[in-house]
Amino acid sequence: MHPVEVTFDALLLFSMVVLAWQGVHARNMFRAVVSFMMFGLLTAVAWVRLEAPDIALAEASLGAGLTGALLLATLGRLGPERRGPRRRRAMKLSMLPWLALGLVGTTVLLAVTLSLPAPGLGEAVLAAMPAAGVDSPVTAVLLNFRAWDTLLEIGVMLLAVIALWSLGQDVLASTSRLPAPALPALVRVLFPLFVLSTFYLLWRGGHGPGGAFPAGALLAAGLVLALLAGARVPERMRGAPLRWAVGGGLFAFLIVAVGGMWAAGAFFAYPPQHASILIAIVEIAAGLSIGVMLTALFLGGEPTEVRRGRT
């Protein structure tokens, strides 16, 4: 590696450690949130340096968009921060065992990582690619070879939405009354681009970095931006249609999986000649559904179905 690269990586690591420390130990909650958001930005750059553009894309779309928005909105709901008496955190002697434990743990992890078989399962994946139905190995793993894991991930997200929605109604009323004439104009420009890039990433997923998760995160970011600019969940979308949209990804996934059982004899077995179209269906349904689910998380509760007077 060139010395410039080494310096770059060292500086990147150093900044990430500083930001991670700030994210956990900052005295002021807002400072911690900003540090965490910046940490997300640098993480995406780190994935790029590790030559994993797929993960960089996912980290960029989730970390730069929705995670930060969720944390900032939560901070707003918590209200002004009450601080306890100021504590000086000094390096105490009692921290030494923990430090030692951390060092030993890191060393063990490093040793384990280095002793893993070098190419991992990469060759097995590449050998199976002709039957995968897509050109991108990452998408093939996510939606064909290990589709079961992705199904469960979407299921976990759905559970989170259900748990959050059972806590109460949406909290959109707490929006700021500050006049912001430029904001609706911005959203009018950006929203079509958000939709466009969502479908661009879904389409890219077939043969390169992209796919359902980054696409869903982008769609959610667009919807959240619209909500922040003053948009409301349309009246006719509330209730059943919204619930179908939230659960639709998992539903489509399950239908394809069970269909595979019927057609090819095993749960999630795609018939090879139809694999391509089936994966496309699952990917689009999952992407859109992930977008709606993330937006639902931002809403903080289910939008009420009937509202009297102005909404």
């Binding site: 500050l178 006049p179 430029a182 904001l183 104009a185 911005l186 420009v189 950006l190």
Partner: protein, 97 residues
């Protein structure tokens, strides 16, 4: 020759990023810092994008670079206005000598 011009543009862009950072650190209040920051959003990134576009030889790539720049400009301008309004609403008075 064109490669050379691209390199010069990128270096200029980097210098404007530096000026944005210096401004962010040295200027006395939010509004003046916004002024420094908006240079990084528009001019600095624009120069870097233009330089890379000169280095690229593919029309689609150049279009994508242009799109990236436009997106950041639009967002940056709106965000500057939002932050300035919010800061005023919070009673932060612009710095005066």
């Amino acid at each position: 020759m064109i490669m050379m011009a691209g390199t010069v543009l990128i270096v200029l862009g980097l210098l404007f990023f530096l000026s944005g950072t210096v401004g962010l650190l040295r200027f006395p209040d939010v509004f003046t810092r916004l002024h420094a920051l908006s240079k990084a959003d528009t001019l600095a990134l624009g120069l870097v994008c233009a330089g890379l576009a000169l280095h690229a030889d593919d029309g689609a790539l150049q279009l994508k670079l242009l799109l990236i720049w436009l997106l950041v400009i639009v967002s940056g301008a709106t965000c500057s206005s939002l932050i300035a309004r919010a800061a005023l609403a919070h009673g932060i008075r612009p710095w005066q000598r």
